[in-house]
């Protein structure tokens, strides 16, 4: 990395944006970075057939959208532990005994074994965990094949990160809006903390808006860097976001700060909402949130009166027992304050009509209603399953021109916990084949003990991966995946936004690494349905997707970005994509599903004196994306060990000190971590790092490269008190726990015997 050690501030002060000249021997490629899920438009510099540098785009609208994970990518993806050839398990599951096979041998055997599972148990016995966000070149092809086979059991991390937000937003106004940061006057961050090296374009947009005078309101128990920059910081109790929004609504409605004309013309259920909001006087909200009532009222007034305002998507309300209510309250604030589909507010962009979108590619219409209703989780937690989303077919067709809108892929998912129960033999029917692509399920969902049991109970597990993750170690086949440097990419923001961007192929993949497109094409062939993926190459597939533009892929990729003609207040023409055509403050669909049609607030269960602290997890560290990047020396130098944060007072009470190894324990499990004292943390709150494992540690069952020592999913409960009712997603923002000094066998030894699978050393 890059960065030469000595740094002269004058160099930066004199830095100016200029288009870079082409260097001798260097060619450039327009790329979209997939080091994380935010997809920055960048430039790859290529020498001797390989990408040697990733830098920010020459296009000023994408300027500076790059972070440390992007610039280290040429080295990170050249890591000698990268999986380069298909591997077949030859010993017991998780034994670490593998043999190299060809792609053809692998696909043939996988096809035979998957057909047997389907014949024995039905097509619903096949589950897949991934997302287009993880793999970039899936484009809904996995769902397309599953729909043709007859399996509805697709799960994804987007179930608790943006996908579920999209699904729940639809209950109120039929689409998932995106903020117009360029024109906004006020931004509200609910626990989200975009930084220079995490969610970089969002950080760039927020700072840019602030520079132009926009107000920033931050709700966060921690004094985050965003909180330090905020005009108002509400240091609320962890997990009390929904209660806080009830307080805002109480002020906004009582003081008549809402958009009366919009409410009268375009909403239903305002009087019922008002009654529910009246259950939350500020004194009660102050007690629930721990914040000063005057400050709550002031924040509400700033949001409602500053001008068009934005409440950007936040992962925080995606991961709480009040998730559905929290997300719904955000939608209600947007709507009644007049921020929907106006410049500076939140835009309901719809699909880009020039591009064949992923929801079309997925072909949900070919899956029978009978199979759709078998989707795991449908019965008890239907919000983002087919059962909860099918009522949008007619309204979505009316407004957006097609029946299925799988926004952020979150609108037709199975529930992860129910799927793992079925895989473990504890569900309503067996699931016996499990594929995961660019995804590390053991560390990405709640309740690792259940997930491990589920995986050990499978007849067939297939992983498509770049590195030997803890989850891949339990597979029957590990197939080598390419990277974003090594193939083109058409990026349509998964239906969230109408802007489409394009990425060139910058170098050949190493070894036998293949794209997700090639993976699914192979699976379609192995299942005797090659016509389901009829395109020969990824480029052919992209030609098909962009044909309506009148350009070929080769032509359009040079344009970098393709905008839809902007439109505002589109609901004036076709209404909203809800059954009533209005903004449904009381949701008719939630009511039909048997749930409260209004948002509500569930308080924490009674405290267990054995677990006096509260923890939250899910936070990204700058050098890592989710469970990835731990193999990159430069990133590990920044975060050598998993660290929990406590403030000094709480640490003193618990008898633990800065730099010591501790265990964090709760009723489900325990993890080991080092302690860092942070005065920005409130009393009795523990920040647990997400997704930790160490690629250098011993692989296989009983070890899983440190995942069993550090993996936070061992603490994430999915019992009823810790699940959102409507969605069935876990509450990971406020889990009771305790922190105790680690006295035995600490620190955890990193030097283990060399894994059998370790390639190239």
């Amino acid at each position: 990395m890059p960065a030469a050690a000595p740094f002269n501030p004058e160099d930066i002060a004199n830095a100016k944006y200029t288009e870079r000249p082409v260097k001798e021997g260097v060619t450039t490629k327009k790329l979209i970075c997939a080091a994380c899920d935010i997809a920055c438009t960048v430039v790859g510099e290529v020498q001797k057939g390989r990408v040697t540098k990733v830098r920010s785009s020459d296009n000023p609208i994408f300027r500076d959208n790059i972070c440390m994970k992007g610039i280290i990518a040429p080295k990170g993806l050249a890591n000698p532990t990268r999986i380069l050839h298909p591997m077949k398990r030859v010993g017991e599951r998780g034994s670490g005994e593998w043999e190299q096979v060809t792609w053809e041998e692998a696909m043939s055997d996988i096809g035979s074994r998957l057909k047997k599972v389907i014949a024995d148990h039905g097509p619903e016995a096949w589950a897949v965990s991934t997302s287009q966000w993880n793999t970039s070149t899936d484009h809904g092809l996995g769902r397309r094949i599953m729909n043709h086979v007859g399996s509805p059991n697709w799960i994804s991390g987007v179930a608790l990160c943006a996908g579920n937000t999209a699904a729940v937003n639809r209950f109120t106004y039929g689409w998932f809006p995106f903020g117009d940061f360029a024109n906004t006057k006020c931004i509200v961050l609910m626990g989200h903390n975009p930084r220079r090296h995490s969610w970089t374009p969002l950080y760039n947009s927020i700072r840019g808006a602030q520079a132009k005078g926009a107000k920033l309101i931050v709700m966060d128990p921690r004094r985050s860097s965003s909180a330090e920059r905020a005009d108002i910081w509400l240091p609320l109790k962890v997990g009390s976001d929904a209660a806080m929004m009830f307080g805002w609504l109480k002020v906004i409605i009582d003081e008549e700060l809402y958009d009366k004309e919009f409410v009268k013309t375009w909403t239903i259920g305002f009087e019922d909402l008002k009654k529910r909001v009246d259950e939350f006087p500020l004194e009660r909200v102050a007690k629930l949130t721990g914040c000063d009532p005057e400050m709550i009222a002031e924040a509400a007034r700033v949001y409602a009166t500053s001008g068009p305002a934005v409440i950007p998507w936040t992962p925080i309300t995606d991961m709480q027992r009040n998730s559905t209510s929290g997300i719904r309250l955000q939608t209600i604030l947007r709507a009644i304050c007049g921020n929907l589909d106006v410049p500076g507010g939140e835009l309901l962009q719809g699909f880009n009509p020039d591009i064949i979108n992923e929801s079309e590619i997925e072909m949900h219409h070919v899956l029978s209603d009978e199979q759709k209703m078998k989707q795991l989780g449908s019965k008890d937690h239907p919000a983002f399953t087919y059962r909860g989303q099918l009522p949008f077919r007619e309204p979505t067709k009316r407004v957006y021109g097609q029946e299925y809108a799988n926004l952020v892929m979150g609108c037709h998912m199975a529930t992860p916990s129910e799927t793992f129960k079925a895989m473990a033999g504890e569900g309503e029917y067996p699931v016996k084949a499990f594929f995961f692509l660019g995804n590390n399920p053991l560390l990405s969902y709640a309740n690792m003990p259940l997930i491990q049991k589920a995986m050990m109970n499978q007849d067939l597990i297939v992983a498509h991966e770049q590195f030997m993750t803890p989850s891949a170690q339990l597979a029957d086949y590990v197939l080598p995946a390419d990277s974003w440097l090594e193939r083109p990419w058409l990026h349509d923001m998964f239906g969230w936004m109408s802007t489409v961007r394009f990425s060139e192929k910058a170098m050949d993949p190493p070894g036998e690494c293949r794209s997700t497109f090639e993976f699914w094409k192979g699976i379609a062939g192995a299942l005797d349905m090659p016509d389901v993926v009829p395109w020969d190459t990824l480029e052919d597939f992209y030609d098909y997707r962009v044909a309506r533009t009148g350009m070929t892929w080769e032509e359009i990729v040079q344009t970098e970005v393709h905008f839809k003609k902007p439109a505002f207040r589109t609901y004036e023409k076709n209404g909203f994509a809800t059954p009533s055509g209005k903004v449904e403050l009381t949701s008719s669909i939630l009511e039909d599903l048997g749930f409260d049609p209004l948002p509500y607030f569930r308080e924490d269960p009674p405290k267990d004196p054995d677990y006096p602290l509260m923890m939250f997890t899910g936070v990204r560290e700058d050098g890592f994306f989710q469970t990835g990047h731990r193999h990159i020396p430069e990133m590990r130098a920044r975060h050598p060990e998993p660290e929990i944060y406590l403030n000094a007072k709480t640490a003193a009470v618990r008898g633990v000190k800065e730099g010591e190894w501790v265990t964090v324990e709760n009723q489900l499990g325990s993890i080991k971590a080092k302690l860092a004292i942070k005065d920005a943390m409130p009393d009795d709150l523990v920040r647990v790092p997400h997704g930790w494992w160490k690629p250098e540690m011993q692989q296989g069952v009983g070890h899983l490269s440190g995942a069993l020592d550090y993996g936070d999913s061992q603490l994430c409960r999915d019992d009823a008190d810790f699940l959102d009712r409507e969605q069935g997603i876990p509450h990971i923002k406020g889990i009771p726990c305790r922190v105790v000094p680690l006295v035995a066998d600490a620190p955890v030894k990193a030097e283990a015997k060399r894994p059998v699978m370790e390639p190239a050393e």
Binding site: I12, P60, I71, P308
Partner: protein, 78 residues
């Protein structure tokens, strides 16, 4: 929100113009495209001392040597 309809329509026109300019700027081929790019560069340039995106790690990045990456991939270097 208390904006008048007239004010909202003005903002909508302005927002449409911004997208049009962004599209032309991204294409960057014709005279008008390049002019749009220059205008966007000017409109989005922040004073260096206030530039919140400046970062030594990024600004000093020199990339990698291709032969060094080859050796690294073969496990010959750390």
């Amino acid at each position: 929100m208390s904006l008048t309809d007239k004010e909202i329509r003005k903002q909508e026109r302005s927002a449409r113009l911004m997208i049009w300019m962004a599209a032309r700027s991204s294409r960057n081929k014709t005279f008008i495209d390049r002019m749009c790019r220059k205008l966007i560069v000017r409109a989005t340039t922040v004073d260096p001392e206030k530039d919140f995106m400046r970062d030594p790690l990024i600004d000093n990045d020199e990339g990698f040597d291709p032969d060094e990456l080859d050796r690294y991939q073969r496990g010959e270097t750390a």
